[in-house]
């Protein structure tokens, strides 16, 4: 049987935010706060840096726009220059729409797949799923998890610390073997 970390339950978003602040101040780094919905102010309480996803989306959007404009220019100026009702081959105002659409399309892919990459999902197995009570977190429960990979991790100390800051239902995450 292996252990993976400790989870503790808190009553509401206010308690969860305060718990996050205390865990952050105690020097833990590999912990997470689980809730049924995103909680305002939690990033600061946990001491998280700003998400880098914006850069990914920006780069993808720029790529899409350049690709869209380049594709149209290449088609009508180089590959297949065809005179249609006397329109100029390099009719750049007419390229604005497809350039824009491809920018949006690429940004959207960047946003969704970038989000999946940063969140490491799909990931169907995670130690927190070993707890049965934890499943309420997608409905109405608020949990903190501290993982064994944290340099300050010590099972007894973490358990008493979580108890001290008001956690209930403290549980050690263990697999079934």
């Amino acid at each position: 049987m292996n252990t993976y970390g400790v989870i503790a339950r808190f009553n509401d978003p206010v308690e969860l935010v305060h718990a996050a602040e205390k865990i952050r101040d105690a020097g833990f780094t590999d912990f997470d706060c689980h809730s049924p919905f995103p909680i305002h102010g939690m990033d600061d309480a946990m001491g998280l840096k700003r998400s880098k996803l914006g850069y990914v989306i920006g780069a993808m959007g720029l790529t899409g726009a350049l690709f869209g404009f380049g594709l149209q220019t290449w088609i009508h100026s180089i590959e297949y220059p065809m005179n249609i009702s006397g329109k100029p081959f390099f009719a750049y105002p007419a390229y604005a729409i497809i350039t824009f659409e491809l920018m949006v399309l690429f940004s959207a892919f960047g946003a969704v797949f970038g989000m999946m990459y940063f969140n490491s999902i799909p990931r169907f197995h995670h130690p927190v799923f070993y707890s049965d009570k934890f499943s309420r977190v997608t409905s109405d429960a608020f949990y903190v998890s501290i993982e064994i990979s944290d340099p300050k991790y010590n099972e007894q100390e973490v358990k008493s610390f979580l108890d001290k800051i008001g956690g209930t239902d403290i549980e050690v995450l263990k697999d079934e073997n």
Partner: protein, 462 residues
């Protein structure tokens, strides 16, 4: 500190949007309870049977169309664009309200949208699928529809990127893809809820697969929220661009009545107007059948009616401005095109449009009509009838009499025009009913954000 007797603004808002004693637990139970129902309601089976019958009509008609060609439609010379284009524009327009609700109202932090956004986004998805059918089949030779795409081929042939029809293809295709991504991203936390509540192993596996292993940690929410915000941000100009591009199919031509610069904003306003009509129709039925009147409340219907009043007035303004410009331009063809709309052989189409889109929404100035459910239900259907006639006016009435009287003709739809249009309702409702049966129709995670206790700072700021 807050006095017990004085309620904060957030609490007053929440009481209107989620009346009664609702909390995180009851919200989950009520919303997730619908797809978890053991016994499917009889009304669902009746509607599903009807939808499947219409879908069969659709499949048969489209099959015959592909076999026989577009000659089975009523299109003629000069009306080369008939019901297929009318229906395409109509369905795309309906989709717009979904994106407006999910993206634009999200950016404006209108959290009343949280009760109806899932619903509206799903409507968008299926409406855009129905819309995409028409450009697909009206090309006649459907097996070469992929020529729309810039794919390298042995013929060395490329689409004409300077043509509005190709812009349109790119715009609608992008719109569908982005709407699908937005919808699915919003669903991930709710799929995790259904996974965690699933009673059978099969359900847990299926919902679990699509939930991607979501565990609601803030390290996930952080990136998730940013992705969601950016999707809302890019969907906003996208949705405004889509119907503008659709309108440029008409506006870049030289046909009197089409060649006007007012088309893009006018089409966008009309699209939002018709889309809210459809959201209203669907949500009135769903809240009744599934007893969700405490989640999709009169307050929500009232706000939707207000948006319909606004956009209805905008299209009314556009109709009158078109007439003014037709007269002011001094162009005989332009003036004739508009007089012909109102007083020509298809006068009934024009006045049906004016009645449904301009007269009917005026009742929404009064609160009692905005909160009268049978009235709202009937008007929401009239709105979409009116918007269908608007496209009929633009497409058929404009084309049937253009420059030379010798080239004029009347247009008559055939049974196949009708059956394919009716059939798309089968396509739409089959998809929509399956969604109602298996997925949460209200966003569970977002509905909770309306409750004041979801914000750890409530009571401190105000």
């Amino acid at each position: 500190m807050m006095n017990n007797k004085i309620k904060s603004k957030a609490e007053i808002r929440a009481e209107k949007l989620l009346p009664g004693n609702q909390d995180f637990t009851t919200l989950t139970d009520d919303i997730a309870g619908v797809p978890e129902q053991k016994k499917t309601p009889i009304q669902w089976w009746l509607l599903f049977g009807l939808a499947l019958s219409l879908l069969a009509i659709f499949a048969g008609s489209v099959g015959f169309l592909i076999w026989e060609g577009t000659g089975i439609w009523g299109i003629n010379n000069p009306v080369f664009w008939g019901w297929a284009i009318i229906n395409f524009v109509w369905w795309v327009g309906i989709g717009h309200a979904g994106t407006l609700i999910s993206a634009i109202l999200h950016l404006f932090r209108q959290n009343w949208r949280n009760a109806i956004n899932r619903f509206a986004e799903t409507m968008t998805l299926f409406a855009v699928i129905c819309a995409l059918v028409f450009p697909g089949i009206h090309v006649g030779r459907i097996w070469v529809a992929y020529w729309f795409l810039p794919i390298p081929n042995q013929m060395g042939m490329w689409p004409n990127m300077r043509s509005p029809l190709i812009w349109d293809f790119f715009a609608v295709f992008t719109y569908f893809t982005v709407s699908l991504l937005f919808w699915y991203t919003g669903l991930i936390p709710d799929l995790a809820t259904l996974r965690d509540r699933a009673k059978t192993n099969l359900k847990r596996k299926i919902y679990g697969f699509f939930a991607l292993g979501w565990r609601g940690g803030n390290r996930q929410w952080q990136h998730y929220e940013l992705a969601y915000l950016v999707l809302a941000g890019i969907s906003t100009p996208l949705v405004l661009s889509v119907h503008s591009v659709v309108s440029s199919d008409f506006a870049t031509s030289v046909i009197p009545g089409w060649h006007t610069t007012i088309f893009p904003p006018y089409f966008v306003a009309g699209a939002i107007y018709s889309g809210f009509g459809m959201v209203m129709t669907l949500s009135i039925i769903a809240r009744k059948v599934y007893n969700l009147g405490h989640i999709i409340t009169l307050e929500h219907l009232d706000k939707m009616a207000q948006i319909m009043l606004l956009t209805g007035c905008m299209v009314g303004y556009a109709y009158s401005m078109e007439f003014f410009v037709a007269w002011y331009s001094g162009n005989a063809y332009e003036s004739f095109a508009f007089v012909n709309r109102a007083l020509g052989p298809y006068w009934w189409g024009y006045w049906a449009m004016i009645f449904c889109n301009v007269v009917v929404p005026q009742f929404f100035w009064f609160e009692r009509y905005r909160r009268h459910i049978p009235f709202l239900f009937i008007t929401s259907i009239l709105v979409n009838i009116g918007m269908w006639f608007e496209r009929f006016v633009i497409v058929v009435i404009t084309l049937h009499r253009d420059f030379m009287p010798g080239a004029w003709a009347m247009y008559n739809p055939t049974i196949f025009d009708v059956s394919i249009y009716i059939g798309t309702f089968g396509l739409f409702f089959t998809g929509f009913l399956l969604f109602l049966r298996f997925l949460p129709m209200v966003s569970i995670a977002e509905a909770k954000l309306v409750l004041p206790e979801s914000n750890p700072h409530h009571g401190h700021e105000e």
